[in-house]
């Protein structure tokens, strides 16, 4: 609609007073930069609640956070070895491996495809071996088994292969998890004369940079 163009040049089509500035004033300058990241606040925020309940929940929260780091649900990716393979690798333990899970879920409640080997602790594996030696007999299968156990002793700390897995599973059924864990792991391991910390190759120093650095427990 052509409508009422107005006589003067500076006549607006809406009621100027309602906007809050007069006719002759200049328009407020347009912003050239994005608004500041931390704009100044007009009013200070209200202080936080205090009290026994609040303190208790705060302590609970921090405790939960700290303890969830130690649970097996906290998954860390296994560190890829960038160097050459070292002799001390055989004696390194406690590093998470990608192909085993640290806790044993109820597999009947999970889809079959998620089934992954449950990590047996080294102690459980050690406990198995002394029980193997009495079983050795002159039979063919026993000889094969002995060969395999010897093979296993050599490859103890490398990523476990399929036959080892089955062997260990069979053996673990026989042993009592609780009884054998009194071994002093450090000295009876693989008949070395050295304490386990001898084989510490210093990789851990400064390497655990990681960003889930959630600090001390208060």
């Amino acid at each position: 609609m052509a409508g009422n163009r107005g006589r003067g040049r500076s006549q607006f089509t809406f009621n100027v007073d309602a906007l809050g500035f007069g006719r002759g004033d200049s328009l407020p300058s347009s912003a050239q930069t994005p608004s500041p990241l931390f704009p100044p606040m007009q009013f200070r925020p209200v202080p936080l609640h205090t009290g026994e309940e609040v303190d208790y929940m705060l302590a609970l929260k921090q405790e939960l956070r700290a303890s969830s780091k130690n649970l097996p649900f906290h998954i860390k990716a296994a560190r890829t070895k960038t160097d050459v393979a070292r002799y001390s690798d055989k004696y390194q333990n406690g590093e998470p491996k990608n192909n085993c899970i640290e806790w044993s879920p109820d597999w009947s409640r999970m889809p079959k495809e998620l089934c992954i080997k449950v990590r047996k602790t080294r102690k459980a594996a050690i406990g198995a071996r002394p029980q193997l030696t009495p079983k050795v007999a002159a039979k063919k299968e026993e000889v094969l088994q002995k060969l395999e156990t010897l093979e296993k002793r050599e490859e103890e700390q490398h990523s476990e292969e399929e036959e080892d897995e089955e062997k260990k599973k069979k053996n673990d059924e026989e042993e009592e998890p609780d009884a054998d864990e009194d071994y002093d792991e450090e000295e009876l391991e693989d008949e070395t004369d050295y304490i386990m910390s001898y084989f510490d190759n210093g990789e851990d120093f400064g390497a655990d940079s990681d960003d889930n650095m959630d600090e001390a427990v208060y």
């Binding site: 809050g20 956070r65 649900f73 860390k76 990716a77 990608n98 806790w103 409640r109 998620l114 001390a216």
Partner: protein
């Protein structure tokens, strides 16, 4: 899922389960539904790590799986449940509620189940008994039966529920079953008839005290090892999880009671508490109001310690009914008057109070006055706003435009003519409570994300100092265990200099403040979420 919700889920997953699970989880949230292979391919993580992460998420009930689009013969598809990830923010509140209702035993039971996702009754009882025994003085130990009774009470009041059985066996090969629907919905826990039935378990004994001579390794083993001797107890395969909905109903009731006690007085809040307690079992979760209770029933159910006489009760009830907050309504006259608690309306009013207080604290009390005016009068022109609010024109304009730019107030155009000529159009300001509540909820999520990130930043900045103090504490602890002299102890303590101590102290103070703020923002999140959910349920 909104951007802020995804960001919050990512931060919470990282905090509790590490970076790997965070990566898998956020990717799955963004993509919706994925199969295992697709997930591994897209996140570029090794397949085993993805499997482990999914196990963790399924264990904690944050991920559901089912037969996918190709039916039971096709690969299994996984879906994340964002709500349960955001509930992780509220874990301290759940644990504290359990403690206040059922004591230390209840607190530990709920804590164990929350941390482990799902547990069988026997393993929970054993772990909790052991933990309690360790805290008791030497020579005493906690009997399993006490823990079992606390567990039963939690189940009876529906705070714990059985995990629902699987709808399908995942990628099972059984073709004899009746064909499953293309997308199997996960069964609701409540649809299972035995949801709250306790299994009969044969468990007697006492908690075992952890001997200090076994040292740290024994602790780790005991903590990590899932108790494998379930077969003795006969409750194999029956897993229990925390019923978050029940806890939320409890929080909602608490919010209503405290609001009544703030607005009116202590006695009215006790009356409302009695009414809510009487209708706990009869009211459905999404009901708009409780069952009608007659005044006689309420009087009989009132505890004598409150000392409210019969005529006073009637007066209090009529006061509650007349109150503009509309917590209690009268639905009839039989039995001395039939009264209900208006749950949805109470939630709406509580949400409205939250919105108003947010505006007041950020923009001042005069802007809050304008906001309240618009909430009550719905649509007002600019001139009318100035008149009703009794604020001079220039300032009123300024405040209105600030609120408009923050999106708390909306502009509605009503044209007089078909061409929306500005001089011939009404411009009305209005506030819609529901969209504004959603906006504020997103702001709350963003706030929590910022708080968490700030806390992570602060810890990272002072990492070196924190590690040093941890090492020194460890040294001190070992020295004290071997009973060293005081001189050695002071020498070790002096390894941290005074300015470092001050820095540590201020860091501790900041982190406590940030954590406390998270808890407090979570209370607002709960109110707004409940309000929004109640409006959706009533549609």
């Amino acid at each position: 899922m909104t951007v802020q919700e995804v960001r919050l889920c990512g931060l919470l997953l990282q905090q509790h389960f590490g970076n790997v699970v965070e990566k898998v989880g956020t990717h799955l949230i963004r993509s919706g539904v994925l199969t295992l292979r697709a997930l591994a391919y897209e996140t570029k993580l090794p397949l085993d790590l993805v499997k482990k992460s999914l196990c963790v998420l399924v264990q904690h009930g944050m991920c559901t799986f089912g037969a996918g689009r190709r039916g039971p013969a096709g690969p299994v598809e996984y879906r994340i449940n964002c709500e349960s990830i955001i509930h992780m923010l509220r874990y301290p509140r759940y644990i504290y509620t359990a403690k206040s209702l059922y004591g230390d035993t209840g607190e530990l039971i709920v804590e164990e189940i929350l941390q482990r996702g799902q547990m069988t009754m026997s393993s929970t009882v054993r772990t909790v008994a052991d933990r309690l025994t360790n805290n008791m003085p030497e020579g005493q130990s906690m009997d399993y039966s006490e823990v079992v009774s606390a567990f039963s009470r939690l189940v009876e009041t529906h705070f714990l529920q059985r995990c629902p059985p699987l709808a399908s066996a995942g990628s099972s090969s059984s073709t004899l079953d009746t064909p499953l629907p293309a997308s199997t919905q996960p069964t609701e826990p409540e649809s299972h008839p035995d949801c709250y039935k306790l299994p009969y378990i044969n468990l007697t004994g006492q908690g075992k005290r952890r001997r200090s001579s076994e040292g740290g390794e024994a602790d780790q083993r005991a903590a990590k090892k899932a108790r494998t001797d379930n077969s003795e107890c006969g409750d194999d395969g029956i897993y229990w999880q925390v019923n978050f909905q029940r806890f939320h109903l409890h929080f909602r009731d608490q919010a209503i009671i405290s609001a009544v006690s703030c607005k009116l007085d202590q006695s009215s809040s006790e009356i409302v508490r009695t009414m809510l307690r009487m209708s706990e079992v009869t009211t459905l979760a999404h009901a708009a109001f409780t069952q009608a209770l007659s005044s006689n029933e309420i009087f009989r159910a009132l505890q004598s310690s409150y000392n409210i006489a019969r005529p006073n009760l009637d007066q209090y009830l009529s006061l509650l009914v007349d109150d503009p907050m509309e917590f209690v309504g009268k639905t009839g006259d039989s039995g001395g008057g039939m009264y209900v608690v208006n749950l949805h309306r109470a939630l709406a009013n509580l949400a409205r109070a939250t919105l108003e207080s947010v505006v007041q604290e950020r923009f001042g009390s005069r802007s809050a006055r304008i906001f309240r005016l618009l909430l009550r009068k719905r649509h007002l022109e600019q001139k009318q706003v100035e008149d009703f609010a009794m604020i001079p024109a220039k300032e009123a304009k300024d405040m209105l435009y600030t609120l408009l730019s923050e999106n708390l107030v909306q502009l509605q155009e009503i044209p007089k003519t078909p061409d929306y000529a500005p001089s011939r159009t009404f411009y009305l300001y209005t506030v819609n409570q529901l969209p504004t509540a959603r906006l504020l909820l997103q702001h709350c999520y963003k706030t929590v994300c910022n708080l968490i990130e700030r806390r992570l930043y602060e810890t990272k900045e002072n990492k070196r100092l924190l590690e040093k103090s941890q090492r020194i504490e460890a040294i001190l602890a070992s020295l004290q265990a071997t009973e060293a002299e005081a001189a050695q102890l002071t020498e070790v303590e002096e390894m941290i200099t005074v300015p470092e101590r001050q820095q540590l102290e201020s860091l501790r103070h900041h982190i406590n403040k940030l954590d406390s703020s998270e808890n407090q923002v979570d209370e607002s999140i709960f109110l707004l979420e409940s309000y929004i959910k109640s409006t959706q349920a009533s549609r």
